[in-house]
């Protein structure tokens, strides 16, 4: 694990190589702190580091506070990490606004703007005085290099490259690309600022040098770097999505922006509709017309789309709906992640409806999940909801090139031959899947409707037919619960401690499990891609050995935990570890909970032995 920050770290060494570095930076909106993070992450990615970057803002469009967190490692990353190894504050007011998003510990190297006038031993971090604190004249160095404070971020990059040996060549390449366009003076000014930052670092060495280890050469220049929204949109194109109906809403809008740049060349189209309702209407219309279609939104938009989602279920039309979750209800915290739309996705329906819900856990995973969503939608003729969240959607992450040949792309079952002679659109088949035609197909004419229908599609008010059709619509989705490949189980099968987590929090739990196992705890982890319907067999198999455990998620109610309890005999020792969004769980925190649970098990077993 990380070389110096974890509990039990060695101290006093003159120099340690870091395998993992977490940098948090904050400033006011105009400071360019996010651009600095992007430059850093892009340079590190090109040099083969595993890298991850999350951004966090106030909800102001300009100005206000902005921050980013960059994690670099020679190992595969599962989450943006907990306590910072390096904190950069361009001013303290903005830095402190991020609270738990940028936690500082005693081992954090703190770098801040000297012009704030705050003395190093008086920095306003409650409850902690880190050992290495540097008040750097960032603003003054920028002015020295370029005459304005515009080059502040280049100074910061120089400091980081100098102290931690982070990809200086890559940073300079990135600067040439970015500033070269603005003319030679701008570029040379920024290069000078970068050099001044590096020089400052060299003249003020850390008490414990912390140079980042080099990643293996085979990854140099071979990684992709992108966020979950772009990944989702790219996967939609790969899966053959031809029509996207959308309406801008944070934090999902980038999906529409990507598609509207790219989809035309694949023969598709994007329509930015007048509202959320119309945008799903456009997608449902396109699907009825036989094309793969998608819409994307976030919580409030999902509420508006719900009625037409019901129509797609009853008319058995394939549709992919992405909900990038943010803090709710209502406008809530639109720029922060939360996992609190699960009840909405599963249950916000009129009538008896089952809609598959899938959740990606990382940017890379978003590709697989999106392709799977299109496949399920087309195969089962149903809307499928992808529940992403703001963190995955907007964090940038290094991803190994996708092996496209590993992915099947499915299409809907169209009627052929004799089926078209006496075509029955909603034919009651054993699988529950009926042949689906589309306008333009000779002999396939039928009436699709929101009203209950018979096998031909003709409206009916027969209670018997309604029951048969309900049964059919649930029957066709029953095989989903046996899709063991939509669940990942890590750790020994007989472990008495169990973790369940989904979405972006799954990455926290992966690392928590590694920490716990390194301390000898017998723990395993279940990460579902298929969130709903609940695959009872899978959970019961997983829980068979589990005496104590946690369902970890970012919502006030612990929504997955509660849904599991509706369908699964969850062991009594398994409880919910849940809290509202924008207060991310940290691996060490989850690991500590597991240690407590292990201790509790020993107490319980001891008592049982005495009795």
């Amino acid at each position: 694990m990380r070389a110096w920050i974890e509990i039990g770290k060695e101290t006093g060494a003159e120099e340690q190589m870091a395998e993992d570095l977490i940098i948090g930076m904050a400033g006011s909106g105009g400071d360019g702190i996010v651009s600095a993070g992007e430059a850093l992450v892009s340079a590190a990615a090109s040099e083969g580091f595993h890298a991850m970057m999350t951004k966090s803002f106030g909800s102001q469009i300009r100005g206000g506070e902005s921050s980013c967190r960059v994690r670099l490692s020679i190992r595969r990353l599962h989450n943006p990490g907990g306590v910072l190894d390096v904190a950069v504050a361009l001013n303290w007011e903005d830095f402190l606004r991020f609270g738990a998003e940028l936690p500082v510990g005693g081992d954090t190297v703190v770098i801040y703007e000297e012009a704030t006038g705050v003395a190093p031993h008086e920095i306003p971090l409650p409850g902690v005085l880190p050992r290495e604190v540097f008040a750097v004249p960032i603003d003054a160095l920028a002015k020295e290099a370029m005459g304005t404070d515009k080059a502040k971020t280049s100074v910061v990059l120089g400091l980081l490259a100098g102290w931690f040996d982070i990809a200086p060549a890559g940073i300079l390449r990135g600067m040439a690309k970015r500033w070269g366009k603005k003319g030679p003076e701008v570029l040379s000014g920024n290069e000078k600022a970068f050099a001044l930052g590096q020089r400052y670092a060299a003249e003020h060495p850390l008490a414990v040098a912390r140079k980042l280890s080099r990643p293996p050469d085979e990854r140099v220049g071979k990684q992709l770097l992108l966020d979950g929204n772009d990944m989702c949109a790219a996967a939609a194109i790969f899966a053959g999505c031809e029509v996207f109906g959308g309406y801008p809403i944070t934090p999902s809008t980038e999906v529409m922006q990507f598609l509207t740049r790219e989809i035309w060349k694949y023969g598709g189209a994007v329509l930015q509709a007048e509202d959320e309702i119309a945008s799903i209407g456009v997608a449902v219309g396109a699907s009825y017309a036989g094309k793969k279609a998608m819409t994307a939104t976030s919580g409030p938009g999902m509420s508006l789309k719900t009625e037409i989602l019901g129509l797609a279920s009853l008319a058995e039309l394939p549709l992919v709906l992405l909900n990038v979750q943010r803090g709710g209800p209502s406008t809530g915290s639109p720029t922060k992640p939360e996992q609190s739309d699960l009840f909405q996705a599963a249950f916000s329906a009129h009538g008896d409806v089952l809609r598959p819900i899938l959740a990606p856990t990382t940017v890379a995973d978003t590709f697989r999940v999106t392709v799977e969503a299109f496949n399920l939608a087309e195969h089962y003729q149903t809307p499928v909801i992808i529940l992403s969240d703001q963190e995955i959607a907007q964090r940038k992450e290094t991803v190994e090139p996708i092996e496209f040949s590993r992915f099947d792309v499915l299409s809907r079952r169209e009627p052929a031959g004799a089926e078209l002679e006496h075509y029955r659109r909603f034919l009651l088949t054993e699988s529950g899947i009926s042949p689906i035609s589309h306008p333009g197909m000779v002999g396939g004419n039928y009436l699709a409707a929101g009203i209950e229908h018979n096998e031909h599609g003709d409206p009916t008010v027969s209670g018997k037919m309604h029951a048969l059709m309900n049964e059919k619509r649930f029957r066709k989705l029953a095989p989903l619960e046996r899709r063991h490949d939509l669940f990942e189980i890590v750790g020994p099968a007989d472990a008495p401690l169990g973790l369940v987590s989904w979405g972006s929090n799954a990455g926290v739990c992966r690392e928590a499990m590694e920490l716990a196992r390194a301390r000898g705890l017998q723990v395993k982890l279940l990460v579902p891609t298929l969130i709903y319907p609940v695959a009872r067999e899978v959970y019961e198999g997983f829980f068979a050995s589990v005496e104590a455990g946690l369902v970890v998620e970012q919502s006030h109610q612990g929504q997955l935990y509660r849904i599991l309890r509706m369908y699964v005999d969850v062991p009594r020792g398994v409880t919910s570890l849940a809290r509202s969004g924008a207060n991310p769980f940290q691996p060490a925190e989850v690991a500590a909970k597991l240690a407590e649970l292990a201790l509790g098990l020993q107490v319980r077993h001891g008592r049982q032995a005495q009795e």
Partner: protein
């Protein structure tokens, strides 16, 4: 596209309409069969979309592909169909509540996007399916189940509404003149762009006395008979002010130079992109090169 000799009967399905005997919508349906036989597109090349209401049942009574959707959302869904398959003939139908109350927000955008759609509103100034409540086109003072002391609101003027957003084809008809209505509907379908026909279609059960077939027959007046120039949008707007007072039939406005449709612009954009790349190339731009 296949053009074949088809009679009105080829568009009639086996479903029996749920409408009350004497409902104006029967006449609309007859007019539509006739218009479609005049157009000559085969039923499988037609997608007929509707919302919710008595009149929204109409797609099921034709042999075309039908989509009886949800209340007020027929237009966005129809646009999705046209976007996906521009070669289809796409018809949209609904009532005044569907089009100008719950779905009113979509009309402006359907008009300004200018897909080649034909939107038929069966306007009876009342909610019939829910048994006689106030509609957005009910006249001020009308007593209904939800306005027992008379409506306090002024009605929407569908003709002026659609005209003001710039629709290229705006007409009005009544099943009291079925052949005339068939001609108007056929013309609307032939117009290459968004075409709107307000059809004054009487509700025999809950409609006003003055909105019955007999009265329509006695009062309707063709726009041609008042010397209206259908290329004159301002004159059309002036005549549209008489909505609710006079029953004009015919074409209020027809853009003599129809602008390109949305789907034509989409095709243009798709073609301009040149050769279709392999889908596997979609992530190439994210590669972090080391040079």
């Amino acid at each position: 596209m296949t053009t074949v000799a088809l009679g009105p009967k080829d568009f009639k399905s086996e479903l029996k309409p749920i409408w009350c005997p004497g409902c104006g919508d029967f006449g609309v349906l007859q007019a539509l069969y006739r218009a479609l036989s005049g157009i000559g597109r085969a039923p499988h090349e037609i997608a007929f979309v509707s919302g919710i209401g008595c009149s929204s049942r109409i797609p099921g009574y034709t042999t075309a592909y039908g989509f009886n959707t949800v209340h007020g959302r027929a237009l966005p869904i129809a646009q999705g169909i046209k976007l996906a398959r521009p070669e289809l003939l796409v018809l949209v139908a609904g009532g005044d509540g569907d089009g100008f109350s719950i779905g009113g927000g979509h009309v402006a955008h359907a008009v300004r996007r200018n897909f080649d759609l034909t939107y038929l509103v069966m306007d009876n100034q009342i909610y019939g399916l829910t048994k006689g409540q106030l509609s957005p086109t009910s006249p001020h003072g009308l007593e209904t189940a939800t306005s027992p002391y008379g409506s306090l609101e002024d009605p929407v003027n569908p003709l002026a509404y659609v005209l003001s957003y710039g629709a290229g084809f705006v007409a009005q008809g009544t099943p009291a003149d079925m052949p005339g209505l068939a001609k108007i509907v056929e013309e609307a379908i032939r117009y290459p762009g968004f075409a709107f026909v307000n059809i004054q279609s009487p509700c025999v059960t809950y409609g006003q006395e003055v909105q019955q077939m007999k009265v329509h027959k006695a009062t309707m007046k063709t726009l041609a008979s008042v010397g209206h120039d259908q290329t004159d949008r301002i004159a059309a707007m002036r005549l549209a002010q008489d909505y609710g007072k006079a029953l004009y039939t015919g074409v209020f406005y027809r853009n003599p130079e129809p602008p390109p449709t949305f789907e034509a612009l989409v095709r243009e954009r798709q073609t301009a992109q040149g050769e279709r790349p392999a889908r596997e190339k979609i992530l190439d731009r994210y590669l972090q090169r080391a040079t």
